[in-house]
Assembly symmetry: none
């Protein structure tokens, strides 16, 4: 089943693959992966790739070079154009305050928007008053480490943080040293969306 969790080595490779494909627009070769991972033999990469494939994260054409592709997370979004966001503390997550003037294209992906209160993400250049466009997350288990997400934490409300997986735990980190990371069991967290873009009207 797609979405099975990954080991550290697998996650590391996957994250790198996403980056590489994002800016090269084509798949790397196994030996490129090998070098990027600092390995001296292709076998470990083969192993990781096999596991990533078995777990449904990637696929490729056997025997054909550089045909690896990411298995995209399929999004079937319910467009909720809500506003209100999380600084670092408790926040609500309901009312529609205004409508972003960019419907057409964006709504196709089921994006929704949040206004950011507070400066907990300031070191990631997300400032108070910014509008963040979020893409719904259906399968939190395949989020990449470091992704900016909006997540609901029991007792804390909804908050905007960097997402890290650590075994069965989830760590939510602000981009501001004044805020302590939150560590919590993955089952306890509801990740609502991941950052698609930052929008700042001036």
């Amino acid at each position: 089943m797609p979405g099975e969790s990954l080991t550290n080595a697998q996650q590391e490779l996957y994250d790198w693959l996403v980056d590489f494909i994002e800016d090269q627009h084509h798949s790397p070769s196994i030996r490129q992966m090998m070098q990027a991972m600092g390995l001296r033999s292709p076998a470990p990469i083969q192993s990781r790739l096999r596991h990533l494939q078995e777990k449904g994260w990637i696929k490729w054409q056997e025997g054909q070079a550089r045909t690896l592709q990411l298995v995209e997370e399929r999004i079937s979004g319910v467009p909720v154009l809500g506003a209100i966001a999380a600084g670092g503390l408790v926040e609500t997550f309901d009312d529609v305050q205004e409508t972003l003037d960019m419907d057409s294209v964006l709504q196709l992906k089921g994006l929704f928007a949040l206004t950011v209160n507070g400066d907990s993400m300031i070191n990631s250049y997300i400032a108070d008053g910014d509008m963040v466009l979020m893409e719904p997350v259906n399968d939190p288990s395949r989020l990449r480490n470091g992704t900016v997400v909006s997540a609901m934490v029991p007792g804390l409300g909804t908050t905007l943080k960097h997402f890290f997986r650590d075994g069965s735990l989830v760590r939510l980190e602000a981009a501001n040293p004044d805020y302590e990371p939150i560590e919590i069991d993955a089952e306890q967290v509801c990740v609502q969306g991941k950052l698609a873009a930052v929008w700042r009207k001036t």
Copy 2:
């Protein structure tokens, strides 16, 4: 525009490439192209590819398998006019490189977009790689002090700065202590646009 026109054979290959890449999500190999074109030798494909590349329609990594990509051009949306140096150095500012997918509303105002290079505006939370949407400025004399503008300074190129008027002088300030303000006669500066929004794709 890649512009230069294609021969029939070149066009036929290009069209097929577009289709193939669209549904396979990776580049075909030369021999796959060969078969698809009904040829029995790779040489004609090599020739067509070379021409397509010279005319600016495709590109690839030499020696690496299946690294061909289409050189994208025209979409609809806000024209991205180029990269702007936040650093204060020389930059280009000419052809449309890509377009932002946000048609409707934005184009009404004649907005245009720039990608930001460098970190000179970092304290205003405009980061390297961000896309800034600019609204054309017709009358620079009515700009408010502190407005973020893109301005062309003789000898420095186009740059993104906070705008301040000081008598007959104009002062352009970065949002980063590492950069010195620029003071210059108002007549010498061409303010092209003022910041309308910051857009950060992630």
